[in-house]
């Protein structure tokens, strides 16, 4: 097979992985913008999405189209409880202690998932069949189209929410200046709660749409969470398009690296980029220094 087709295949694989990174990354930045903390439990919501769907499908025997929204709702509920029980009681704490609490929360959620569902890897049925689609010599699965489609819709919804709804605008106001936002009558604590709920739901959905391809287990959240964090850093912690591009860039570089150089460096690529960005452009690839980010 000639190099062109090979490159196209690398690109397609990379974009689909990148889309997932982007969704997880946006979850990171929504919470960061509302609270100023990095929520390292974000990856666990991704795991919860996949595992809850599996649980609803296999144990409760629900059809896929009911199991998916229900799993997203349940994960959002976990996000809500997490904020109420672990973050809110400590609002006076410094961001660093809150970040450490999110790490603790991540370990707790992972441990519970392991106790409840065991350590086995499970696979989720794909939404619409497994017949590969040919595209100029490269191949895609219908599930990849679902990933691209759902990612685009979610990012669109996200954009609309933050620019055109009262709650979205209020959340943006909180991220600019929580004190001023409080003074004009915005319930800042509710906005923080909302940010956790939205992030948990987005993470869970990312976990669900990717599970038919990559399978799921109690511990998939760690790596996916770190990659999503990396995407958010490349995008300068914005909850908009630049994090999406960050995720896609990361996915494509990983795939090209594994294909053209060596797969041994796949994870290293992500973390080298992370370090380079933090050293050279801490405001993100596209951000202007010292600008406010939403």
């Amino acid at each position: 097979m000639e190099l062109g087709t090979q490159l196209l295949q690398y690109l397609l694989s990379g974009l689909s992985t990148g889309a997932i990174y982007a969704l997880i990354g946006i979850g990171f930045s929504i919470i960061y913008n509302a609270t100023g903390i990095i929520n390292f439990a974000q990856g666990e919501f991704v795991m919860l999405g996949g595992m809850l769907t599996l649980f609803l499908l296999s144990v409760l025997q629900l059809p896929l189209w009911i199991a998916i929204p229900l799993a997203v709702l349940l994960a959002a509920l976990v996000g809500l409880l997490f904020e109420r029980l672990a973050i809110r009681p400590l609002r006076k704490a410094s961001p660093i202690s809150l970040v450490i609490i999110t790490i603790g929360g991540a370990i707790l959620i992972r441990g519970l998932a392991m106790l409840i569902w065991g350590k086995d890897t499970h696979s989720l049925p794909s939404f619409t069949g497994d017949e590969p689609i040919m595209l100029a010599g490269a191949t895609l699965l219908p599930q990849h189209l679902w990933i691209f489609g759902i990612t685009v819709v979610l990012i669109g919804l996200n954009k609309w929410f933050f620019s055109h709804t009262i709650s979205g605008k209020a959340m943006r106001a909180c991220s600019y200046n929580p004190r001023a936002a409080g003074l004009v009558g915005i319930d800042v604590r509710r906005m923080v709660l909302l940010s956790f709920v939205i992030s948990a739901a987005m993470g869970a959905l990312a976990g669900i749409i990717v599970a038919p391809l990559t399978m799921t287990a109690y511990d998939v959240g760690i790596m996916l969470g770190l990659k999503g964090f990396c995407a958010a850093i490349i995008g300068g912690m914005s909850s908009g398009l630049s994090t999406v591009i960050g995720g896609l860039v990361l996915g494509v570089l990983e795939s090209l690296g594994a294909g053209l150089i060596s797969s041994g460096y796949k994870d290293a690529i992500a973390f080298v980029i992370l370090l380079l960005i933090l050293f050279l452009r801490p405001q993100g690839l596209f951000g202007k220094p010292e600008s406010e980010r939403v």
Partner: protein, 380 residues
Amino acid sequence: MLTRIMTVLMLSATLLLSASFALAADTIKIGGLFSVTGPPAFLGEPERNTAKMVVDGINKSGGIKGQKLELIVYDTAGDATKAVQMATKLIRDDKVVAIIGPSTTGETMAVIPVVEKARIPLISCAAGSKITDPVKRYVFKTAQNDALAVERIYDYLKRQRQNRVALLTVSDGFGASGREQLKALAPRFGMQIVVDDTYGPKDTDMTSQLTKIRASQAQVLIVWGTNPGPAVIAKNARQLGLKLPLYMSHGVSSKKFIALAGDAAEGVRLPSGKVIVADALSKKDPQKASLLAFVKDYQNHYKQEGDHFGGHAWDAVMLLKAAIERGATTAESIRDGLENTRNFHGIGGTFTYSAGDHAGLNKEAFVMVEIKNRDWSLAK
């Protein structure tokens, strides 16, 4: 009235005591070290279950030459330190004459100095070739070496007249050992390795590696790993429309792999112990009787299919039994008896131990199986 009841109780207690004494004098104590909990529980649990089942079976049919077996099992939780403590306990407090287990290579390596010093024979259920290479005087093993699986695949490929192979191995202990053997044995079978790539145990997309392999001159792809990686690879290969025949290791020879990979598992070939295809084996296979007995027995006792791991413990108990039947009574004579095992048709293969070989198996221990209609079948 009360005194009478007391007297009866006392009497019966004394009777019971003396009875158990009489029994104890005639029992042969063997120890079991299995990781029933912890990460290797998937090994230790079927091993313990099987060992108990086999020992109970032997005792029910009158023991060995009238002597009952007593199996004392401790859980090592996959922890080498615990395995050493429990081995010491078995030897010092329980005074066993032989030990079966541990379940993993790491634990076995830790226990070896203890049994060598105490001169107690150990039959390990772990697969690592370093357990019996170099040979230790008191250490035997029942699980098949990785090298035998590699020989099986290469032998099969040679008969298919295919010699250009691509390797895709997982970057953990299992994959590294497989990769080493695949490379070391390639020249002997005239195999030419045209791609040698790896993937991480937690990787979720291997299309990049497979795209590279598709562009190469390889005729077959050999994947060496344990679940879930190989299932992802099978799915990715199907997505890419990869035409290469897919070969995997014995590491995925469980129904779990078929469940994970689904339709993508169709046509995958792998070397496997014979348990999973016991029914399909030819009548001439000398292991068939043992295999069917084990599978049926396990099904009756535990309502599950017996697997390879349970088979390792089955072999260990039966090898001990055979050695004792041939007249061994002490630890030292059991060791000698084990070493004199010739053509013992067990679950893992046909064992022939000697002074220079305490692993006892050859590549006939594996058969090539092919996945058809979500089930195992013998590859032609």
